[in-house]
Point group: C2
Chain length 354, copies 2
C-alpha cells in the first residue's frame, strides 16, 4: 500500500506538522530535522497523492492556448480541439482558454504571454513565432515558474518545457521519398507550393523534400517555389498557372496551408494525372484524398497535440515526469486506404458492443 504523510511522520519520529512543512517547503524546520524527514520520504518511496492534494486545495489548473488567427484550416482545427477539450475539462480540474493573435505577429504573441503570466496561469501552450520578444516572454514565463509548451512550431533555445509537433525536415524528406517512389521512372518536373519561405517550418520542409528528391535514382527538376501565402485565391492562381504553363508537370508538393486553392485548381485541371502530396488532413484534403486528386497527406494529429499539451503542462505543474513515448507526435502518412473515418462518426472498426 502507498505510504502516506502519517508513515513519514512515524518513520522520521516527527509530527505531521513537521512533515507538512518539509513537503511543502514551509519555514520553521531545522536542517537536522529536515534531513530526517527527507530520508524517510526516500526510504518509503513516498509519492504525493496529487488528487488528494488537489481536493484539499480546491485546485484548478488554468491553462491558456495562444493560437494564430486566420483561416488556416489546420489552426482552426487545432482551436476546435482545444475548445472541445475545454468543454468538459473542469471535471479534470483543468480550465482551458484560447487566445488568438494575428498570425506571425511576434509582439502580439509576447503580449499575450505576459498577460497570461500576469494572471498566474498554471501553464501556457503557444504556436511559436521566431522573434526575440517571444524568446524573452517565454523566458519570463519560465522564471515565473509557469510551464511553457511550444505547439506545432518550436522556438530553439527558448527554455520551453516541451515541444509538441513534428520534425519538419523529416516531414519534407518523407514527402520527397514518397513523391520519388510514386513517380518512379515517370519523367517531368515537380512543383512546390509553400505559404511563405519566411516561415522557418516551411523552409525546413522544403529542405527535407529537396534532400530526399535528390537521392532518388531518377534525376528530376524542382520548379521555383510558388509562395501562396497560405491564401486560397493566390494559391489557386499560382497552381492553375503552373498547370497551364508546365505541360509535362509530374507532381506537386504542397508544404503549407494553401490546400483549398490547390484542390480547386486540381479539380479544374481535368485529365492531368499528377502525383500530389500535401500536409494536414482537413475537410479539403480528406475529400481530395478520397476522390483521388491527392495521393498522400502527411498529418500531425491536432487532437493528440492538444491532449499532449494538457498532459505535459499538468505534469510540469505537479512536478511529475512526462511519458516521452506518449507525448511524441508522429508524422502520419495517409493514403486513401488508411484514412480514419470522419470525426464525429464514433464507430470503432468492427464495433459490435455498447
Amino acid at each position: 500500500m502507498r505510504p502516506t504523510v502519517h508513515d513519514i511522520a512515524e518513520r522520521a519520529g516527527v509530527s505531521l506538522a513537521t512533515v507538512d512543512r518539509v513537503l511543502n517547503d514551509r519555514p520553521g524546520v531545522r536542517g537536522v530535522t529536515r534531513a530526517k524527514v527527507e530520508a524517510a520520504i526516500v526510504d518509503l518511496g513516498y509519492v504525493r497523492d496529487v488528487a488528494a492534494a488537489n481536493l484539499a486545495k480546491s485546485r484548478v489548473y488554468p491553462l491558456v492556448f495562444i493560437l494564430p488567427e486566420g483561416d488556416n484550416p489546420f489552426m482552426r482545427g487545432l482551436e476546435d480541439e482545444v475548445r472541445r477539450a475545454g468543454a468538459h475539462s473542469l471535471v479534470e480540474r483543468t480550465q482551458l482558454s484560447v487566445v488568438t493573435v494575428p498570425a506571425f505577429d511576434g509582439s502580439a504573441l509576447a503580449r499575450e504571454i505576459d498577460s497570461a503570466i500576469e494572471r498566474a496561469v498554471a501553464g501556457i501552450a503557444a504556436v511559436a513565432v521566431d522573434a526575440p520578444e517571444v524568446l524573452a516572454a517565454i523566458g519570463r514565463a519560465r522564471e515565473a515558474g509557469i510551464p511553457f509548451v511550444t505547439l506545432v512550431s518550436d522556438l530553439a533555445n527558448s527554455g520551453r518545457d516541451h515541444f509538441i509537433g513534428v520534425d519538419n525536415i523529416a516531414a519534407g524528406r518523407t514527402a520527397g521519398s514518397l513523391m520519388g517512389r510514386f513517380l518512379g521512372q515517370r519523367p517531368g518536373p515537380v512543383a512546390v507550393l509553400a505559404g511563405s519561405m519566411r516561415v522557418r517550418d516551411h523552409g525546413e520542409r522544403l529542405e527535407g523534400f529537396l534532400a530526399a528528391m535528390s537521392a532518388m535514382p531518377v534525376s528530376r527538376a524542382i520548379l521555383p517555389v510558388l509562395e501562396g501565402q497560405d491564401d486560397p485565391e493566390l494559391s489557386f492562381r499560382l497552381i492553375a498557372e503552373c498547370l497551364a504553363e508546365v505541360r509535362d508537370l509530374a507532381g506537386i508538393y504542397s508544404l503549407g496551408a494553401g490546400n483549398r486553392g490547390l484542390v480547386r485548381a486540381l479539380a479544374a485541371g481535368t485529365g492531368r494525372n499528377l502525383c500530389v502530396i500535401a500536409h494536414e488532413v482537413t475537410d479539403e484534403t480528406r475529400a481530395a484524398l478520397e476522390g483521388g486528386l491527392v495521393d498522400a497527406v502527411l498529418n500531425q494529429d491536432a487532437g493528440h497535440e492538444v491532449r499532449s499539451a494538457i498532459r505535459v503542462l499538468r505534469a510540469k505543474a505537479d512536478g511529475l515526469p512526462v511519458i516521452a513515448a506518449q507525448e511524441r507526435i508522429r508524422l502520419e502518412i495517409f493514403i486513401k486506404d488508411n484514412l480514419p473515418s470522419e470525426p464525429g462518426m464514433d464507430d470503432t472498426p468492427g464495433s459490435a458492443g455498447n
Copy 2:
C-alpha cells in the same frame, strides 16, 4: 464552481444521507423523494468527483491483460508496454497484471477470463481468439459488470465494451495500394507471407491486399500464400525458396509476424531489388526499414493501445464517457523518413529545453 452533494441536498430539500442513498442506489428512499433528488442532480449538472470518491473508498482498479505467449515480437512488445505502464500505475490507483496463455488457445483464454471474474477485477483486456468458449466467457464478464476490451484482435458479437486495434481489411488494402504504387509499371509477381490463414486477422489483411492490388492499373500475379506459422525458421525457408524459384519476383507482402525470417532471407538474397511491405515496427523491421531491405512498415502503436485500454476500462468502471477520437487506433505507415527514433531515446525533435 462545480456543484457538490451539498448543493443537491439543498436544492432537493433533503439531507445529505438521502442524496447519498440516491446517488449510490442504496435502499430506503421513497420514489417521490428519489425523483426530487434526481431532478436536482440534472438541474445542477452534477458530476461526481471521481477522485474524491476514490479517496474516500481507498479504491484501486485492478486490471488484467491476457496476452498470448510465444516469441511473436509484437506481442512481446505489447507485454513490455503493459509492464512498463504497470511500474507506476499505483499512483493512478491502477494495478495492472499480465497473464499469458498459449497463442490461439481459446479454452485457456476462457479459463483466465473466468479466473479474472472470480477475482472481481475492475476490467479485463485480452487479445481475442475466435472460439465459442471465449465468447461465452466475455458474456460472463459483462454479466458480472466487469468491463471488457478486446485488444489487437476483435471478436464480433461478443458484447465487449470496446475494441482497441486496427481494421485489418483496411490494413491489407493499404499494403496493396502502396505496393502497387511503389512497383508502378515494373512487371513481376508478388509473394505473400502469412502466419496462418486460419487466423481471421490474417485472412482479412489478405482480402484487403488482394482487393487493392486488383484495382491497380497494372495487372499482376499474386503467388499462393506462404504460411510460415509466424515461425522465423519456417518463414526464412519459405522466402528463401521463393527468391530462388521466382526469378522475376517484384514484391513481398508480409502480413503476419514472421518478419525475422523474412528479413534474414532478404539480407541473404543479395542484389534482389524487391518492394517489401511488412507489419509492425519491431527491432527487426526497424533495422530492415533503415537499411533499405523493407520499403514500408504498417504499424499499430502498442504503447497507445495499452494506454487506451487502461483509459477505456477505467472510464467504463467509473461509468464515464470514452473519448472516441482519443481511443481510435490509427494504421500508421512508416517509411525510412518518418520512422520515429528508437524507444528509450527521449529526445524530442528540435529539443532545446529541459
